[in-house]
Symmetry: C2
Subunit: 452 residues, 2 copies
């Protein structure tokens, strides 16, 4: 009996997909990267399915690539030649939702926005909200330590993760963390798994922290600026003034044009950046102060909305940004993060780099965190970004590091950023990371070649 036949035998009927076309449809994430050919796909429905798959993979030394919805932007879930793609997307149960303890216990295939909606029925919310929240899964969010729009106030996925159930490379089950708000029993294995991009184990359940949903809708501000630099200066001023926005997003002219071309938002000439900010009811003075600081930093137009409809419309605009850009061509989506005080400098550098390399860059930023997504557009006919785009991206990465920043704020390293990793991490960190990887995965079968 060959290996795949053994796997089929080890799992309930229908879990293993071997048709090459079907398997191929699980092989990519949202990057342009050309995947390897998977041996097969396992569509797990229970923890036991994952256990059986990992036992089999250890026995046969077959690489396993865990996968959620495939919305990743760094190649973390790209298939490796001859791997098993292990989909967790069908493990969609919210097992528990406790407003009293402010926690939820969920399976990895739960769609992020679905958990948030379920929590809101109890007056709670699940704070992390990557732009992909309507299509990405909790498991994928955990793998990349996803951020989002609200994380300027509420932190990233790791900040909302209290405990995990993990299946290790050899099929053993490990529970990390706890159901309590605090705890320091042993090393922080929960935090170690969050952001590890499927290289240390397969998450089959998570204890997540919920927060109170604000009682009244936030006040939302939209401000138009003559330049991205001016918008960046407004952001720096808002942070320096001690405002506590629950959302602070920046879009450049290219992004606005892409949205305008698609949705006709009536973009005026001379508007070269837009800032969207929110203040929650708990800090009522902040909205007026943020509007004032936008005007003081050159905003030509500032709109303030306080109904849920207007707010949803504005945020909806921002959430369209990535899809709007995809209409322009193939995208290399970057994710640098810099200390907040140098956000205006980073914006200027991105503009200079674009001009110097004749690269089309559309930038959106979770500006309150200093996290920028310069999206490099290139010809859809090309198999990968052309030389000028790589050269521009390389300069952006190096500039971010020079300013005290990092290569990736919330997308992860995946495959895409591995070649720059050494610039940020250095040899001692690299050696330690490899050592940790060997503790969990001595045979190197878990998503090999990714993340570290």
């Amino acid at each position: 009996m060959n290996a795949v036949a053994e796997l089929i035998e080890a799992l309930p009927a229908g879990r293993v997909l071997t048709d090459p076309d079907v398997a191929g449809s699980y092989a990519r994430d949202q990057t342009f990267l050309e995947p390897g050919k998977p041996l097969c796909v396992v569509v797990a429905q229970t923890r036991d399915d994952v256990v059986a798959t990992m036992r089999w993979a250890t026995e046969h030394r077959v690489p396993v690539v865990p996968r959620g919805a495939g919305t990743g932007l760094a190649g973390g879930a790209t298939a490796i030649e001859g791997c098993v793609m292990l989909s967790l997307a069908r493990m969609t149960e919210i097992r528990e939702l406790s407003p009293a303890d402010e926690i939820a216990v969920v399976e990895p295939g739960v769609i992020t926005a679905d958990l948030d909606r379920a929590a809101r029925e109890h007056g709670m919310m699940y704070a992390p909200d990557p732009s992909s929240h309507e299509i990405s899964t909790i498991g994928g969010n955990l793998a990349t330590n996803a951020g989002g729009l609200r994380c300027v106030k509420y932190g990233v996925t790791r900040d909302s993760t209290l405990g995990l159930e993990v299946v290790l490379a050899d099929g053993r089950i490990m529970d990390t963390g706890r159901r309590t708000m605090k705890g320091v029993t042993g090393y922080d294995l929960t935090g170690l798994f969050v952001g590890s991009e499927g290289t240390l184990g397969v998450i089959t359940s998570a204890i997540l922290r919920l927060r109170r949903a604000p009682a009244v809708p936030p006040v939302t501000i939209a401000a138009e600026f003559p330049s991205p630099r001016a918008a960046g200066d407004a952001v720096a001023a808002i942070v320096a003034a001690g405002c506590q926005p629950s959302l602070l997003e920046l879009m450049d002219r290219n992004t606005l044009e892409a949205i305008d071309d698609w949705k006709n938002i009536g973009l005026e000439p001379g508007v070269n950046a837009m800032l969207i900010a929110q203040a929650e009811g708990s800090v009522p003075g902040d909205a007026a102060e943020m509007a004032r600081l936008c005007e003081a930093n050159g905003a030509s137009f500032v709109a303030v909305s306080s109904t849920q409809e207007e707010t949803d419309e504005l945020i909806g605009l921002r959430r369209l940004a990535y899809t709007a850009k995809e209409r322009l061509g193939a995208c290399l989506v970057e994710d640098v993060c810099v200390p907040r005080s140098v956000l205006p400098d980073m914006i200027t550098i991105i503009e200079e780099v674009a001009a110097r390399h004749d690269a089309m860059i559309c930038t959106v930023a979770h500006a309150g965190d200093g996290n920028l997504h310069p999206v490099f557009i290139f010809d859809r006919g090309l198999p990968e970004p052309p030389a000028n785009v790589w050269a521009a991206a390389d300069e952006v990465f190096r500039a971010a590091l020079r300013l005290g920043g990092t290569l990736t704020g919330e997308h992860g390293v995946g495959l895409l950023k591995r070649r720059w990793l050494g610039l940020e991490s250095g040899p001692v960190v690299n050696e330690v990371q490899q050592g940790i990887k060997r503790v969990f995965d001595p045979l190197g079968i878990l998503n090999p070649g990714k993340a570290i």
Copy 2:
């Protein structure tokens, strides 16, 4: 030349203390545990001192016990026979304080409250505030992932730690983390070191997150209750109502009596618990709502103060609790944490356990986090807690775990809690933790026998 002579030679003059009496004064933390006899003490003043010490220790295979101010409550800094006590208490520089980036870069010997005061000169604060904050160091706080009074709103030390400089067991220097608010480059080594109790490396510098200090003093409530259970019910109601206290502390009758004996606070008969709560200006309605919920749950008296003086007085009272108890006898200070909804149950169990084992227990709780400190008082003449105290503590630990809680919310495992660790963590977690320990410390010289 013997080993100690080599160490003296490797370091600047005056760094190594060999007098046994002096060395003995560095051998204890605040537990009753009888320490081993140190070989000597190194009082590090620079990172290079730490590097030289660790190189020497690796060469000679001498155990090293890192130490801050020695205020630990779990034995993490208790000397091991023949070890070097490595004091970081003289590394007290605040290297950088940036309000614009909301970070500080500090050495491990900085006193926690000193950093907070320095930050407040710039309108910022350092949020973690263990009760010992006027005497404990940042390095000790990092080692135990310290919490404190404010962590109900602002999280524990790990939540305020962005990056670390660490000297590894063999003297190599490793930088973890970043200066930015977000980042996911590689595994979370920063989080791994926080709470690792000096078993993975020696922290020589930390990039810490600052927060905006509230613009107006918080409103503080003190409420007196006929029973701790009633106070616990009020806490559960406050959490369930969605109030967002910045502090929510509970003290039982024994604790109040200990304070009253010392400071004469006019404690009335029938007052069997007190709750102290704070609401920051950003949530103005919360103070009134919390006061109302205290009354609805049986509070006999509720005082509301909004001047800084009154607030300082009330919080000062709470911070006296531990010292007041030390006047009663030797203390076994415990640190269980339970899901918040079962805090009232845990309080009842502690009372029952105290009665059943004829043990004197004074309980304070960071009630908003579900984190209780039952302090077991025993005869100062005894070298360690008598059998009835251990039996009572054992029951408290097991009950906390049964309720979904943890052995330690913020003090760490140290030596004291190691014998219960297996009840919480299980064999797979234990094996993984030992594997991680070996990656960082293959010779087992870093604080051996602690934490895991």
